[in-house]
């Protein structure tokens, strides 16, 4: 008579899991981006939705082309491969939201392709990449099409008005009739300071997702409360910008804008909430997170106030991404008893 198999199961640590999987983390962030996309659509019309969709299609399509399909079944959950973790979707949406509203759709699609292929797949996939994939895509587009990526349109056209460049044929472009400068461009080149209320509501020219400061702060609080990211990273970055730009503002308030303007303008809040906090490309130790945030803030202030560009959040984050492994190494906590 056969006995039942013993019920005692032996397992090694860890025994407790927080339940926060990669998949849940990615979709939590995508969900928090939904209001940002709606806000972009409200200010910049249907073109905004199309640009985000094109960038997402580029990213997801590229992930599908390059993913390992060898052990996948035609149907069932394995057929989606690495698409299931949602990281390609998140990269695409993030990239789309950093693009200017009048960008042709083929460029947004190309950006999605570059973001996944050069930003992630070539490094060995999710978790291996040194740089934030969405920013790699945007940096490529900025280097390839510098004029298009710095041509801004004012918000508030009728929802169904397409921007003239949106449906430009691949490799082609059409110049949008009405252009406008971003708050940072106005501050840098024309010494005009946009009121903080406009920066918070989002009624300014700029990249699709970056204009509404208040909405991004709500997203930050939501993600922080849900413990999707570590609060140290955004806090360190914000404090760093406030510190450095505040010191400069005290030295000469005529030349250097106030820290509040620096915090609310441009892509700073968007980058701080969604890209500085990227778990792959930011340090994992608490001390390292403070160093990372401090570095991003310092570079943002340096590029914006002393560099040739009006906006420097993208390069600041990419530069700090490149030193993340070093920060991780020098901030390793000491072994207990070691």
């Amino acid at each position: 008579m056969a006995r039942d198999a013993p019920r005692l199961r032996i397992k090694t640590a860890p025994y407790v899991h927080t339940g926060l999987s990669t998949r849940r983390l990615m979709f939590e962030v995508v969900a928090s981006l939904a209001p940002v996309v709606l806000c972009a659509a409200w200010y910049f019309g249907v073109s905004a939705v199309l640009v985000v969709a094109a960038a997402t299609a580029g990213a997801v399509g590229t992930e599908w082309v390059f993913m390992d399909k060898s052990d996948g079944h035609l149907l069932g959950k394995h057929s989606l491969g690495t698409l299931r973790d949602g990281s390609a979707l998140l990269t695409g949406v993030l990239l789309g939201l950093t693009l200017p509203p009048a960008i042709p759709l083929w460029m947004a699609f190309l950006g999605g392709f570059v973001a996944i292929s050069l930003g992630k797949v070539i490094w060995g996939g999710l978790g291996q990449n040194l740089f934030n994939p969405a920013l790699v895509g945007r940096a490529f587009l900025q280097a390839a099409f510098p004029i298009t990526l710095t041509t801004w349109v004012p918000p508030g056209a009728s929802f169904w008005d397409l921007r003239s460049g949106t449906f430009a044929a691949p490799l082609m472009n059409a110049v949008d009739g009405v252009t406008s400068a971003t708050p940072l461009g106005l501050a840098k080149f024309e010494q005009q300071i946009t009121p903080i209320r406009a920066l918070l509501s989002g009624d300014t020219a700029g990249s699709l997702g970056e204009t509404s400061g208040a909405l991004l702060l709500i997203c930050a609080v939501y993600l922080g409360v849900r413990k999707v990211f570590d609060w140290r990273l955004p806090l360190a970055t914000i404090l760093s910008v406030a510190l450095f730009s505040g010191a400069l503002h005290l030295i000469d308030a005529e030349i250097y804008p106030s820290p509040l303007f620096m915090l609310c303008s441009g892509g700073f809040l968007f980058g701080t909430v969604f890209m500085v906090t990227d778990p792959v490309t930011s340090p994992i130790t608490p001390r390292g997170e403070w160093i990372f945030g401090l570095g991003v803030g310092l570079l943002v202030v340096l590029i914006r106030l002393f560099g040739g560009l009006a906006e420097g959040v993208m390069y600041a984050i990419l530069l700090m991404n490149s030193v993340t492994p070093l920060i991780n190494r020098v901030t390793q906590p000491r072994k207990f008893g070691g």
Partner: protein
């Protein structure tokens, strides 16, 4: 007697063809990357560089092969370099005289052909060990492959970076040039992309014919050296 002659002809043809694809200096051996990246921002520049390198490589391989019995082993590298440098100076002056615009566009890179490792590599690995005809065939094949690779990189970069090919506009007025492609990063990106495509095509080709090309290739390469 007749059979022997045919066999050596076949071998010479093989030396000529191997540089184009199987041992392509840029895509397979990844040699001579400095000119492959630096002067390929247009097809014209790439072709000028390719032809200049062809002249130098064929000339110096022929001369080294002719002199191979008289060159003392201890100082062979310096002698190769002197021979190569003479041909580089010749092509430099020829270009300055007959194609001054192209010469200006090339800048220092014509003079730098002298340090192209592909050229010294072929002298050391092939021309110094073979008679004149195979040495010339090898040099012609290698420089053909080099020119082909440069032309491919140059064509991609010129089409995307300027919307033209050999100066002729391809897409009309509203074309949006990819500025990055005519800048140095475009060279790296294009070369990397072509390397990926070549490696992928090669893999697919070998998978398609198991025991075909993939199996015979090392044997053929060994035969070539022996």
């Amino acid at each position: 007697m007749a059979d022997e002659k045919t066999a050596s002809d076949v071998r010479n043809v093989d030396e000529l063809v191997k540089g184009l694809w199987r041992d392509n200096p840029v895509f397979i051996a990844v040699l001579g990357l400095c000119p492959a990246l630096a002067v390929t921002n247009s097809l014209e520049n790439a072709l000028v560089m390719g032809l200049a390198t062809t002249f130098v490589l064929v000339g110096s391989s022929t001369l080294v092969s002719l002199l191979r019995k008289g060159i003392p082993k201890q100082v062979r590298i310096s002698i190769y370099i002197i021979i190569i440098a003479s041909f580089v100076t010749t092509v430099d002056f020829l270009l300055a005289a007959f194609a001054p615009t192209a010469h200006k566009a090339m800048g220092a890179f014509i003079a730098l052909i002298v340090v192209n490792c592909l050229i010294l590599g072929r002298q050391e690995a092939f021309a110094s060990k073979h008679s004149v005809v195979p040495a010339m065939a090898d040099a012609a094949g290698m420089s053909g492959g080099f020119t082909l690779a440069l032309a491919m990189i140059g064509a991609v970069r010129e089409i995307l970076g300027s919307g033209t090919l050999l100066g002729f506009s391809l897409f009309g007025e509203s074309f949006e040039p990819w500025v990055i492609m005519i800048l140095p990063p475009g060279g790296f990106l294009t070369l990397g992309l072509l390397l990926v495509i070549f490696a992928w095509v090669k893999k697919r080709f070998e998978e398609r014919q198991p025991g075909g090309l993939g199996a015979t290739e090392p044997a053929a390469a060994k035969g070539g050296v022996a």
